[in-house]
Symmetry: C2
Subunit: 341 residues, 2 copies
């Protein structure tokens, strides 16, 4: 019932000693008599003393918080990254303020500004589809705010980043289709200005080139990155007079959306058309979708470690960390005759 709010002053008064001594007892200082410490600790427990972190933070000019801004955290991808982050920073006594930009550049800016006001000691950011906040990040970096970008980066920025080699893994995904015998491979690309869009498209082009398959503009469509955007792409592809025999999608949601849309049209995957995704999702797995899986937890952990390094030492040089990924081959891309029973 007694509304806590005991302070070291209360303890000092109750014990007839000075607040400095109380503080020392509480903080495990060595220059204190063991008996005094015991008394203080006992009294603290009795009076349910809880240190006021705010006061301590004010004094030490830090607050043990880092901010995280991601485009969304409805799907498994960013939540897993966040868990990786928390694993690392919680151990060091940091708390994480999580914001989602909902893919909006404006909200992203607001989030960052909120976090700045909350005086977080560092930021981990994955930018929105059409982030226009270059100036903001430039200012932050200029003002020495430790910051690490993950997955969705701004290539113009000189900042630390944790990514996978999208180009290479897109290459591998498309190469796999080629090796399975597919030749008319379409690409459902993401939003045009997104960095991953460009990198994965490049990997697609690389693969076609490497295997001497002519590139056909008609087979490349910028549809976006959300599941419901797949339909538009399939509509267009299926209206071509020469239809593709395989689709490489920018990500799993688009791949899944495509599979559902193809099913509606009575087309079978992969018999009529193969589909490969990217950033393996639980849904994709269930639908037996071939995809590139990213080490989400690891991305989070590494980003957190990189950030903590920067927080502890402001002139840590920026680093670009490229993590490994994996192509998981499933039924959506294996021609029937090759499929194991």
């Amino acid at each position: 019932m007694s509304s806590s709010k005991t302070t070291i002053k209360d303890l000092a008064k109750a014990l007839g000693i000075s607040i400095a001594t109380v503080s020392r007892a509480l903080n495990g200082s060595h220059e204190i008599h063991p008996e005094t410490r015991a008394k203080v600790l006992a009294k603290a427990k009795e009076l349910r003393y809880k240190p006021n972190i705010q006061a301590r933070n004010l004094l030490k000019r830090r607050n043990n918080m880092i901010g995280v801004v991601v485009p969304e955290f409805i799907t498994f991808f960013f939540p897993e990254i966040i868990i990786g982050i928390q694993e690392v920073v919680n151990k060091e006594g940091y708390q994480v303020l999580i914001c989602q930009s909902n893919e909006s550049s404006t909200l992203e800016r607001k989030n960052i500004e909120m976090l700045e006001e909350s005086m977080v000691e560092g930021l981990i950011v994955s930018v929105a589809k059409e982030s226009k906040n270059l100036d903001l990040y430039e200012r932050l970096i200029n003002e020495q705010m430790p910051i690490v970008f993950v997955n969705r980066i701004l290539p113009e920025l000189r900042a630390s980043q944790v990514i996978i080699d999208d180009r290479k893994w897109a290459f591998k995904a498309v190469e796999h289709l080629i090796k399975c015998g597919y030749r008319k491979i379409a690409h459902l690309a993401g939003n045009e200005h997104l960095s991953v869009t460009k990198r994965r498209l490049q990997g697609y082009l690389d693969a076609l080139q490497a295997y001497d398959i002519p590139i056909q503009e008609r087979l490349i469509m910028y549809v976006g990155i959300q599941q419901d955007r797949a339909k538009a792409g399939i509509d267009l592809l299926m209206n071509l007079k020469e239809k593709p025999d395989a689709i490489f999608a920018i990500n799993d949601p688009i791949a899944v959306g495509s599979m559902l849309e193809l099913k509606k049209r009575g087309l079978k995957v992969p018999e009529d058309i193969a589909v490969v995704g990217f950033s393996e999702s639980p849904i994709g797995k269930i639908m037996e979708l071939t995809s590139v899986s990213q080490p989400t937890f690891e991305i989070g952990r590494i980003a957190a470690e990189t950030l903590l390094k920067q927080i502890k030492n402001f002139d840590t040089p920026t680093e670009t960390i490229i993590l490994d990924a994996k192509l998981n081959i499933r039924n959506s891309s294996i021609p029937v005759h090759k499929r194991p029973k």
Copy 2:
């Protein structure tokens, strides 16, 4: 390059006025000359002044933070609730510290203690499967910590809660199966001590009783709440000499796991056996699973509003808010001959 950290003291010195005046100018006080205010504001901008929230918090004894603890935030469910929470509290200037217990009672306790140390002004909690933290919550409530439970509650506690009527919606789900003509309806229940397990089981029993269908213990299995736990249940059910013709699963993951497991055995849903889930998930939707959908965002918003009320006025009485849900009927439960083409 200049490492910010401008304080009101700096502004005061630069302008040759007192810090009190600066403070007033910054806080939009009315007892100040407009010209002075303008000068202060200009200087503040020039020197990139940012208020130190920690200092203000120390003074005002609050920190504009609330804590949220959920069992996980990998699947859509809790993330959506969290977004609902943020929508409401951000508008009021609050930030949210999000923790996940990973369904561990111990980690749940640690999270709560961390949040307490961070001096959050209130808590929104959904407890882990086997939460043994009754004492902890009792203490917090006793110490006047505003706290609202969502979805997973501790019925022994006198605290505010936001839930749906699980019993009623379980009843509706099972009633739907009965009306479709199914009679041998199994129930894959969750972990035995979880409150939702009990409430949904009760709804299942209610429905059988209401329609004079004998209850058969053999058809009720406590499997758990995660997808991979479905297999065990299906194994057992399919070994019965009298097999069920329908399954009511505690939640969508178990329902989805069941569907996949049934498929492996060459059984068709719903021709051979119907399946109904609970807490509609995106995966369930894709698999055309009949399920009860919960108003996740709404749960978050209402919980947040309830909490803010308690924060603003400590003797707000506790409330139990029961939100509406919806039974979405899909192909997993409709007998073929009734299915629309």
